[in-house]
Structure formats: C-alpha cells, structure tokens
C-alpha cells in the first residue's frame, strides 16, 4: 500500500508537467513551448523509433525506412497531422500501417530461402542473438506493453510514452509499465 501511495503522490507531481499539444494558428505548443512542424517531426521520430526498432528487429535498416516513410506520409498529410487531437497517436497509427503494408509486400515477394539461396547475412541472428530471448518475450505481449517497454528501454519518460500510447492516464500507465516489466523479467527468467 505504501508503494501505491508513493506512485499516486508522484503522479500528481507528474501531472503538473502534463504534455500539452495543441494546434493554433499553424503553431504547435508543447508544455507551453512553441514547436515548429519540423521540430514536432523530430520529436515524433525519436519517440516512435523504439517501437519501429521492435517491429523491424530483424533488420536495423528497416526501422529507419519505416520511420522515414512515416515522416513522408506525415509531411504529405501535414494538415491532418497537426489538426489531430493526438498527433503522436496518429503518427504511431501511420507507422503501424506502414509496417503492415511492408509485411504484405514482403509476402508477395519470392523469399531467398524459398529459392535455396544460402543466406550470407542473417542480420538479427548475428547482431542481436543476445537479445533473442527478450524479443521472443516481447512478441508475446500486447501492443501497449511493447510500446511501453521499448520506449522505457530507449530512455523515454512516462509522459512521452503517454503521448504515444494515448487514451491512458499517467497512473494507469505506470501500473501497466510496472506489470509489463515484471512480466518481462519473469518471462526471461523462464527462458534463461
């Protein structure tokens, strides 16, 4: 109970710094600080990069491509993006849809393995083998947990995570985050 009381008291303090994004006369404000469209895109790319990395963990280049495509789509749909009540959630949706499109395209393409061509660079297995257990665990989690854990790993604050997850209070987010961390620790304990 004491721990929960600590969480609540800290949440009140965090609420004071609640991120505000609004569109007014073509200017964006965050925590009462003016942000240009370009700055917003940079901010967005930083926040969505961890999730993009997880979605495309097999290839580092793909995560860049995914974020770049998302940026292009956001530039093309600037008005919609800026007028959206939750721009970061909108950007996340575009990123996810992009990823699904890419997967569909890949399915239409003939795989190298299918042609019995030896794979000389298997990307993930060489570079990310040590993370295999963690990735396997993350894959079994829901999208919210995946975003929370990947963003926490990248060093983002709960307020920043809240922008991306959206439709969640800071208290609920922290509870979800703690449970996800416990779940991951237990999962990895079993795997290891």
């Amino acid at each position: 109970m004491e721990a929960l009381a600590n969480i609540e008291s800290r949440t009140v303090n965090k609420q004071e710094k609640f991120v505000v994004l609004r569109f007014e006369d073509n200017k964006l404000y965050k925590n009462e600080m003016e942000m240009t469209f370009k700055e917003l895109l940079e901010d967005m790319s930083k926040k969505l990069m961890p999730y993009a990395m997880f979605l495309t963990y097999k290839n580092k280049a793909d995560s860049s491509d995914l974020v770049h495509n998302t940026i292009i789509k956001l530039i093309n749909n600037k008005d919609k993006f800026l007028k959206h009540s939750k721009p970061m959630a909108y950007a996340k949706k575009i990123l996810k849809n992009n990823h699904v499109d890419n997967l569909r395209k890949q399915k239409r393409m003939v795989s190298i393995e299918g042609n019995d061509i030896p794979v000389t660079n298997d990307g993930f297995h060489q570079q990310n083998f040590e993370f295999q257990q963690m990735i396997t665990c993350l894959e079994s989690f829901n999208e919210t947990d995946q975003i929370i854990l990947s963003m926490l790993g990248a060093g983002h604050s709960y307020e920043e995570i809240q922008e991306v997850v959206s439709d969640i209070s800071l208290v609920s987010l922290r509870v979800k985050a703690n449970r996800a961390r416990i779940k991951l620790a237990k999962c990895m304990d079993r795997k290891l």
Partner: protein
C-alpha cells in the same frame, strides 16, 4: 512473492536504489529467495531493454531520422509556385477549337481510304495535245470596200457560205453603222464586224428574205 513487493523493488530501482546504497531494497531482496531471483531477472531484462533500444544504436537511428527530416525540409518543394490550371484550361480550349474547326471545314463526303487490294496500276494514257485555234474576228473597213455586196460576196466565197448569210450577219451586228439603219447606205468611216456565229447559225432562206426586205423597205 506478491506483486506489491515486486512493484516496491521496481520503484526503488527507478529512484536509483542499489543493494549497496539502499538498505530498504537490500532488506526486500534478502527477505526471500524468490525476491532475489526476481531482482536478478529484472536487472537482466532492464539491461537487455536498454541494450537493444537505447545506447549507440538509438543515437545513430535518431541522427539518421533527423538528417532525413532536414533533407525533406531543405529540398525544393515539388509543388511549383506557378499555377498551371489556367494554362491547362486554355490549352484544352484551344485544342477543342482546332478540332471543331477541322470538323466544320472537312469535306462533306469523306473519302474512305482505298485498301491496298483495290488499288490497280493504270497505264498513263498518251495525251495528244490538240491546239484549237480560235477564229480571228473579221472586220471590214468601210473605207476599203467598194460596195457592201461585193465585200459580202468575197467573204462568202472565202468561207464557203451564202452571200445573204454574210450580208445578214454584217447588218445585224452593225446596224448603227448604217445611215438610218438603211442597209443600202453603209457609212464609209466605220469598221464592220462580221459575226461568224450568226453566219453559221442563220438559215440561208431566212437570211435572204430578211436582207431583201431591208433592201426594199430601206429600214
């Protein structure tokens, strides 16, 4: 180990507590074997998360994304500042005008293209140029002729026609050159035109009767 204790451990770790600097955390971990295992698993998972999503890899990707955004904003816009809509509208209108003009001015009978099977080679016909010489008009000078009858008789002989035909033609074509239109009083100062078309067409008997009538009536 219940969830409450697990959350306590996480919260303490978030606040920077370690086994060395936090007796509270140490007490929680030392309380049970499960707590110790959980703490170790948590350390591993947190370290893995940071290793995969953070560090140098994250910085590289963020720098790349930033460079990409700068590139997008620095490159000239694909949208031209020139408004081509009026120009395109004008071009379409002009094209339609040309098409309409072509249709209106096209021949009413559209000549269908002849298929290659239907085309036959025709030998060029040998053209014989026939020069048709127009007869020169005949004028008779009043000063040069002795009498109208003698002149008419001479022309009639040359043309192979009757003299009454020639007389009739001269009188009909030059009535004004006769004093009071009298066929017996031609003027000497005039040139008389001999109309060959009348000579060719007029009937001999008709010409003779008319000439005789003019001679006797003096009209």
């Amino acid at each position: 180990m219940n969830e409450e204790k697990q959350i306590q451990i996480i919260e303490l770790m978030d606040d920077g507590a370690t086994l060395e600097n936090s007796p509270k955390l140490k007490a929680l971990i030392d309380a049970s074997k499960e707590a110790k295992e959980f703490y170790e698993s948590l350390l591993v998972s947190e370290s893995m998360l940071e290793g995969f999503f953070g560090g140098e890899r994250r910085d590289q990707l963020n720098a790349k994304a930033k460079a990409f955004i700068n590139e997008q904003f620095e490159k000239p816009s694909n949208v031209s500042t020139i408004n081509f809509k009026p120009l395109i509208g004008f071009a379409i209108a002009a094209s339609l005008g040309v098409i309409a003009f072509t249709i209106v001015n096209s021949p009413s009978e559209i000549v269908e293209p002849v298929s290659s099977v239907q085309i036959a080679y025709a030998e060029p016909e040998t053209m014989i140029e026939e020069v048709i010489e127009e007869p020169q008009p005949i004028f008779v000078s009043g000063s040069e002729m002795e009498t109208l009858w003698s002149t008419a008789s001479q022309i009639a002989n040359d043309l192979g026609v009757d003299k009454y035909q020639v007389m009739y033609a001269i009188y009909e074509a030059n009535k004004d050159f006769f004093v009071n239109n009298d066929i017996n009083a031609p003027r000497a100062d005039r040139n008389y035109f001999v109309d060959l078309s009348i000579i060719e067409t007029v009937d001999v008997s008709f010409a003779a009767s008319e000439v005789k009538r003019h001679i006797f009536c003096h009209c």
